[in-house]
């Protein structure tokens, strides 16, 4: 088994009258156990240069290559926008690309922003219908690079 930790520190000296700070460390374990997550996509990088939506994490790709991300377990997803622009962002959406009824934009990563979330990774079909892919939509055609990683079981 592997031991992987994720630590977050949220802090501000001036958002309130008193300093604000949260720090928390999670040890990433398999669902319902104390055994560490032992599979990962590895850290990946992708550069985008248009406002087209891009299927960043296509679950069917993982299925077809044997790297099955077991759905509804304890997978974790990290994405960072490596850009420096505070004006331009990348929308991060979960669901089937180009199927508005089945998707949700969860948030926008501006330059330097990152997210770290649990990932249900529900896979339904090889034609992507109902799959919980993660796709991204840049706000401009300027080049922007994302780094991402899934740690899963």
């Amino acid at each position: 088994m592997a031991t992987t930790t994720a630590t977050i520190t949220l802090s501000s000296a001036d958002i309130a009258d008193n300093s604000f700070s949260i720090s928390n460390t999670a040890t990433l374990t398999k669902a319902g156990s104390t055994t560490g997550l032992d599979k990962t996509s590895g850290l990946r990088r992708r550069t985008l240069a248009s406002t087209d939506s891009v299927d960043l994490i296509q679950l069917d790709h993982f299925q077809s290559t044997g790297e099955v991300i077991t759905e509804n377990k304890a997978a974790k997803l990290y994405i960072k926008n490596l850009g420096s622009s505070s004006a331009e962002h990348v929308k991060v959406c979960i669901g089937q690309e180009d199927a508005d009824a089945d998707t949700e934009e969860i948030g926008r990563l501006y330059g330097g922003d990152w997210l770290f979330i649990p990932y249900a990774a529900v896979w339904t079909s090889a034609d992507h219908n109902g799959n919980q892919d993660v796709y991204v939509i840049p706000s401009s055609g300027d080049s922007v690079t994302l780094e991402w990683m899934i740690i899963y079981e």
């Binding site: 630590t7 949220l10 309130a16 999670a26 990433l28 850290l43 997803l77 501006y110 330097g112 649990p118």
Partner: protein, 142 residues
């Protein structure tokens, strides 16, 4: 303006053949600016088991298409306990005991609530802590 930062460190000596050590810091700004977010809320709640998609954070018009950030931690200690995190009915994932998450929340419309479900099978509450940094909320009259 305020300066608030969020730093993540991911570390492992044995997930890969080489050590993993990743660290990243984001400064939390208003959408499209370098002005720091100035409003925040924090809390700790006991989510009752059995009810589906209870609203933890209510999306409002003032937050639509903005740059809010959300932190949620599952404070239960039994490794089998998890809380399901969803947005507008779309499941994001399961947050197990001791886990935390941090994500942007653009509130594309007033239905983009962040919802939590403590499974009925747990027969106990899911205790979570949260913080949201945002650009404002729409107040409602009494």
């Amino acid at each position: 303006m305020a300066t608030t930062t969020a730093t993540i460190t991911l570390a492992s000596t044995d997930l890969l053949s080489d050590s993993l050590s990743l660290s990243s810091t984001a400064t939390l700004y208003d959408a499209g600016t370098t002005t720091g977010l100035t409003e925040y809320e924090t809390g700790r709640i006991h989510v009752p088991s059995g009810d589906t998609n209870l609203i933890l954070l209510d999306a409002t018009a003032a937050g639509n298409d903005k740059a809010a950030k959300v932190y949620i931690a599952n404070k239960n200690t039994d490794e089998a306990h998890y809380v399901i995190i969803a947005m507008n009915g779309t499941v994001i994932g399961r947050l197990y005991s001791g886990d935390w998450m941090f994500m942007p929340w653009s509130q594309t419309d007033v239905s983009a609530d962040i919802e939590v479900t403590c499974p009925a099978a747990l027969s106990t509450t899911c205790d979570i802590e949260y913080a949201v940094f945002h650009e404002g909320i729409t107040f409602t009259n009494a």
